[in-house]
Symmetry: C2
Subunit: 138 residues, 2 copies
DNA sequence: GTACGTGCAAATGATTTGCGTTAAG
DNA sequence: CTTAACGCAAATCATTTGCACGTAC
């Protein structure tokens, strides 16, 4: 059960995602993996991202209607600009542990992971007020 | 500034969303509002959902590539099935307050809201093991 | 009165699907 | 071997856009 067939395509996708913190889209994963497996199809990448996310090997984050993925390694949190949709990682073991402690109290649930999203306006979208906003990158 | 023009369309959309905890899609909002304003266009609903979310009057949650919306009232958290994408609300003032306290420590950011997503498998997707999963609804 | 919002239809972009072929276990 | 995965092209679905007309302030 829970068998996973490690095809070349899946191995390369996981390899590319490993340690990657840029939240790549399917398009970006496709472009990267194509360098190793030139004949890979974009549909295969789509199918595998979905498959791997369902298996819990990677995490899906949806930003402004586009799926992005990250390896399911160290738990972390996101700062998301509600206007431009830029996303920034930040770590807080404190918060992660606190959340999981709360999750344990929830009856009848299988919780595998948690993450907290913080919403606001990034520096660029906020406009003038420099001292209170976070900065979008890339 | 930050003027919001309260057109009939926007009023009806906000009215439908008020107190609604079902995380409706644009399609669902459109169907509901059409009962009041039969001539409303789906494009108008799309435009307004985007507009209202940017203004911070509603919150967008993206699940499995589809945008869903909820009124931006009481802060709460989500339980999301990584397989079927079903989403369940749950409240924890404790967690919300804790998160916001952490957010205050972050320099140079304007944080307006936060929410924590818990990921796992719901009862249906987990299959046999009844005692450990949460139940999808709707 | 004027800028902004609306409705419609067409365009776009992301994601999925059908199907004959290929490869993992 | 046999079933699941692949590659490709076509299909689908969510969301956006251009434009002429209407309306909130």
């Amino acid at each position: 059960m829970a068998q996973i067939k490690y095809t070349n395509q899946r191995v390369e996708i996981l390899d590319f995602l490993k340690g990657n913190t840029t939240h790549p889209t399917v398009e970006q994963v496709y472009e990267a993996v194509k360098k190793k497996l030139s004949r890979i199809s974009k549909a295969t990448v789509y199918q595998n991202m979905k498959f791997l996310a369902e298996k819990g090997l990677i995490q899906e984050v949806n930003i402004k209607g586009v799926s992005r993925f990250e390896p399911n390694l160290e738990p972390h949190h996101h700062l998301i600009c509600r206007k431009c949709g830029k996303i920034f990682d930040f770590e807080s073991k404190e918060l992660t542990e606190y959340s999981l402690r709360i999750a344990k109290k929830l009856k009848g649930m299988t919780i595998e992971a948690s993450n907290t999203n913080f919403y606001g306006l990034c520096k660029k979208c906020k406009g003038g007020n420099k001292s209170f906003a976070f900065e979008p990158q890339n």
